[in-house]
């Protein structure tokens, strides 16, 4: 896929939730593209549907209507099973609260997505060790998440997200639980993944400072995409 073609093509996407018998529209008729290699920040007030949109693009939620082409596949039509395999191959996840397995070490957490591949043990190890050095945690690989700081945990999570070399990284408020220094550290890391490894990154944030790391900021308000700021 070349740099000019969009990696995400969203057409007339609609999503609503049902709450106590009442239908709450979250996203109404959204259409937009994200180009390959883009680093985009999705901003907007709380409850505006940023996470919902991100979850749809990442294939962990299903739209009510509209089409959703991601990396060449209309993921809105995939079954639960197909979607799981698709996610394993195409998407890396970074969460606000890191979502590491507390019973696994940093090393094991990063290795986890590789268990869904056919990679033999020794190659898995090599890859994980490389990823650990890239996020600067080689000396912490035997540590459990509870023994790491928030910033370190998020670095482990980032390593876990790119270990399978997916085209797309999705990050929902990746710095939302971190202090300024750690946040900058994480944002710099995401920037490098984008510029040096060519990962397309979609980051949800309500922090303008964080959003400035992205190339492109899109605002979501009341279920609709508004202004586009490019810098």
């Amino acid at each position: 896929m070349d740099a000019l073609s969009p990696i995400v093509e969203i057409r007339h996407l609609t999503k609503s939730y049902r709450r106590g018998g009442q239908v709450v529209p979250v996203l109404t008729n959204i259409s937009f593209d994200i180009r390959t290699g883009e680093f985009i920040a999705l901003m907007g007030p709380s409850g505006s549907g940023k996470s919902t949109l991100l979850n749809l693009i990442a294939g962990i939620d299903k739209p009510d209507s509209g089409s959703l082409r991601v990396n060449g596949t209309d993921i809105a039509t995939l079954s639960e099973r197909e979607l799981a395999d698709w996610r394993a191959a195409n998407v890396g996840f970074i969460f606000q609260f890191y979502n590491l397995m507390p019973v696994l070490t940093a090393f094991e957490n990063i290795e986890l997505p590789l268990l869904l591949t056919r990679l033999p043990r020794t190659q898995r190890r090599e890859r994980v060790e490389l990823a650990l050095s890239m996020v600067g945690l080689t000396d912490r690989m035997e540590h459990y998440p509870s023994e790491l700081s928030g910033g370190q945990q998020q670095r482990v999570a980032i390593a876990r997200a790119f270990i399978t070399d997916p085209v797309l990284l999705v990050a929902d408020e990746p710095t939302g639980d971190l202090d300024r220094a750690s946040a900058d550290d994480i944002l710099a890391m995401l920037g490098r993944l984008n510029s040096e490894m060519g990962k397309t990154i979609i980051m949800v944030t309500h922090d303008p400072h964080a959003a400035r790391s992205a190339h492109l900021i899109r605002h979501l308000d009341k279920g609709e995409l508004d202004v586009t700021l490019e810098h």
Partner: protein
């Protein structure tokens, strides 16, 4: 492998909770095993019964005797290869609490019908030649510390008076299920003593034991025996030894049924406890399961984790429970003395315990596993905090 690593580490995550659950399982599986062993002990007499032995008793009731002269008439029936008799003595050794069965028997023929009672030939000879001698089982001997040569005083109840017997032989059981809690002595001695005391009560026996060559003819020969004595002074009822023993058990059937029910109730209770533990565990980790799902792990992996953890806990408790069943049953058996002639944990009981523990593990995981398999990723992730 990561799968097993995850299961084991998850199991050890809440050590206290897992520990208490395992403890509960240990107690439940142990209780289950003991209760089943008690039920087995109840049926042990019938289990050890031979299919080539018939028992003939007075048709009115077991408490009424049969005349000794029936013996020769039964012996002549075709298919009968041996006959002997036994009479319940019902004596008390020191106090009523010391219960063990005593029978007056024919020393010449009785043991030929019971090859499972192993007696050294020399001791057997000593018993036969001592009119006031007795043969006792190994379990009885160990319970009261009786040795060959010892004198055992018995206070007669059915046959009043102070009786005393010398131990001439101790028999061992050929099999684990053989009852070695019995006490045998010379019927002649009983009969002659009664002749002096109450002539009216002589020449009677309790039951006849009939040996037959072909177990398939048991029903036929039984009918023939009973027909022979129809309309006579004492009518008979003949049945297989097993049916005869089960007749005793059936008198206490209600207790056995109650014990059986309780044994399953115990399992059911631990299932409820275990199911609660697993539900709590799965609920706490729902966001972890959702994360795994997001990474691409399928519902089978997740349900596998939950079933695996549940099975590890239930089998840990189950195996410790089974291991404890043996020494505890042993102690229990010693406490009970000769009340349960045969009291041992059978292989079937162990299998039942394993099955119960496994079933508890599987059943406890069923609900949380289904829930985790079904929960949407977005909902699971939202439950984070």
């Amino acid at each position: 492998m990561h799968f097993l690593k995850l299961i084991l580490r998850n199991t050890l995550r809440h050590k206290l909770r897992t520990g208490l659950t395992v403890l509960g399982l240990v107690v439940a599986i142990l209780a289950f095993g003991l209760l089943r062993t008690v039920v087995d002990a109840w049926y042990a007499g019938a289990e050890g019964a031979s299919s080539t032995r018939l028992v003939t008793r007075n048709s009115i009731s077991l408490v009424f005797p049969l005349p000794i002269n029936y013996q020769e008439r039964i012996r002549r029936i075709s298919g009968v290869t041996g006959i002997s008799h036994a009479s319940w003595f019902g004596g008390v050794y020191v106090t009523e609490k010391n219960f063990f069965p005593q029978f007056a028997i024919d020393p010449k023929t009785y043991f030929e019908l019971y090859p499972e009672y192993l007696i050294p030939p020399g001791d057997m000879k000593a018993f036969r030649t001592d009119r006031k001698g007795c043969v006792i089982g190994r379990k009885l001997a160990t319970t009261y510390g009786f040795k060959v040569g010892d004198t055992i005083p018995l206070r007669g109840t059915i046959y009043p008076g102070a009786w005393s017997f010398t131990v001439r032989a101790i028999y061992d059981g050929a099999e684990a299920g053989t009852d070695t809690s019995q006490f045998f002595f010379h019927w002649d001695y009983l009969n002659e003593t009664m002749k002096k005391a109450a002539a009216r009560r002589t020449d009677w026996v309790g039951v006849y034991v009939i040996q037959i060559a072909d177990p398939d003819r048991a029903a036929e020969i039984s009918t023939e025996v009973d027909a022979m004595f129809r309309n006579s002074l004492a009518e008979t009822l003949t049945e297989t030894e097993k049916a005869f023993q089960l007749g005793f058990v059936s008198m206490t059937e209600a207790i056995v049924v109650a014990i059986r029910i309780v044994s399953f109730v115990v399992i059911f209770i631990i299932l409820a406890v275990m199911a609660n533990t697993m539900a709590m565990t799965a609920r706490e980790r729902i966001s972890e399961y959702a994360t795994l799902k997001a990474l691409g792990f399928g519902p089978r992996f997740l349900t596998g984790l939950i079933y695996g953890e549940s099975i590890v806990i239930s089998l840990a408790g189950g195996l410790i429970g089974i291991a404890l069943t043996f020494p505890v049953a042993d102690r229990f058996s010693k406490q009970m003395g000769t009340l349960f002639p045969v009291f041992g944990v059978s292989l079937d009981t162990v299998y039942m315990q394993i099955a119960a523990a496994t079933a508890v593990g599987l059943a406890a995981a069923a609900l949380p596993a289904t829930r985790v398999a079904r929960v949407s990723i977005v909902e699971g992730l939202r439950s984070i905090g």
